[in-house]
């Protein structure tokens, strides 16, 4: 494969890895705000390693939700990684035991990098380079964020309270932006989810309103009759 394509792939993968990896600091801080200790925050970043699910788990716990609601929210958000895996199999062709390692790094960013790569060799390179840089930085910044947040007090705690909802908005935002497939429908579903959750907040146990918000998916309507390549 040409050298330039290789280095361009590496540059993109590591660049995205660094940008996304830093975001782990926000997760560490959110975990601390929800009452998790540093070890629990680290376990989530090391083993769960899928940002939106990690944020959902600590977000539900932070809202006073039950263990079941917290795990349910994380798993619902984790289902998209299953679909990503299906799309990655033809590119990465993970064999035997390597499947168990590959699975660990199947997330939004590594999927996007691999699917964007011009050929299979570069797709593997993008997956590994992106996965490694995100994994390393995400875990380091998780620890920094958790320890840093634990030391906060006064107005700095109010700052942390404001960072957590903003972090969810930042996770949601790319889906609502022009250019994302069916962005207008995504906006409708997101707004529906927010309305359902707020309406249920006074009446259901804490955290359950987040899970119940999946009914807003109904606003997306039936599947389009399209057979485009994923």
């Amino acid at each position: 494969m040409p050298r330039s394509a290789r280095s361009a792939t590496l540059r993109d993968a590591v660049g995205l890895g660094v940008a996304v990896g830093l975001y782990g600091a926000a997760f560490g801080a959110a975990a601390d705000a929800a009452g998790l200790n540093v070890w629990q925050a680290m376990t989530l970043s090391l083993v769960m390693f899928t940002g939106a699910s990690q944020f959902a788990l600590v977000g539900v716990l932070g809202a006073g939700g039950s263990a079941l609601a917290a795990v349910g929210g994380a798993l619902l958000l984790g289902t998209r990684n299953t679909v990503y895996g299906v799309r990655l199999v033809p590119l990465l062709k993970p064999q035997g035991l390597r499947r168990f390692g590959t699975a660990h790094w199947v997330i939004d960013e590594t999927t996007a990098l691999s699917l964007a790569a011009p050929d299979r060799g570069l797709a593997r390179l993008a997956f590994l380079a992106g996965g490694a840089s995100i994994y390393l930085l995400w875990n380091l910044t998780t620890v920094a964020g958790a320890l840093g947040a634990a030391a906060l007090s006064g107005p700095a705690l109010a700052a942390l309270d404001a960072v957590v909802p903003a972090a969810f908005l930042a996770l949601l935002w790319p889906r609502l932006r022009k250019g994302f497939p069916e962005a207008a429908v995504q906006r409708r579903v997101a707004l529906g989810g927010a309305v359902v959750a707020l309406a249920l907040t006074p009446i259901v146990p804490a955290g359950v309103q987040v899970i119940a918000a999946v009914i807003a998916v109904a606003l997306a309507g039936r599947p389009r009759a399209r057979q485009e390549a994923a």
């Binding site: 989530l44 939106a52 798993l75 990684n81 895996g85 199947v106 109010a158 908005l169 930042a170 998916v217």
Partner: protein, 105 residues
């Protein structure tokens, strides 16, 4: 919530999410690529993240509460619309929340 329950939550959630990833590399593609399954999976994140933005930004326990968090969200939305990097968005939201706390606290 006791320390044990918290640990059980962390471990169960982490293993469950890993198994969902592993399933994608292991099950026949036809199971996952049904139009209805794909449709639901495409839109679950928007519904849940929308709910989490609302719950984290506007509620405390069972009550709707308007405070610095909403101001932080508004600032974050403007920063995101202007394509600011994630970290900048979060710092601005945090600064807005702290400022409201100082002004009203």
């Amino acid at each position: 919530m006791s320390g044990t329950v918290l640990w059980a939550t962390v471990v169960a959630g982490a293993l469950g999410c890993y198994l969902l990833k592993l399933a994608g590399l292991s099950v026949p593609a036809a199971w996952v690529e049904q139009p209805w399954v794909a449709r639901v999976v495409d839109f679950v994140p928007a519904a849940l993240l929308g709910a989490l933005v609302a719950v984290q930004g506007l509620t405390t326990g069972h009550d709707l509460v308007v405070d610095g968090r909403l101001v932080g969200l508004a600032v974050a939305a403007i920063a995101l619309a202007l394509r600011a990097p994630f970290i900048v968005v979060l710092l601005l939201a945090g600064a807005a929340g702290a400022l409201v706390e100082i002004l009203t606290g």
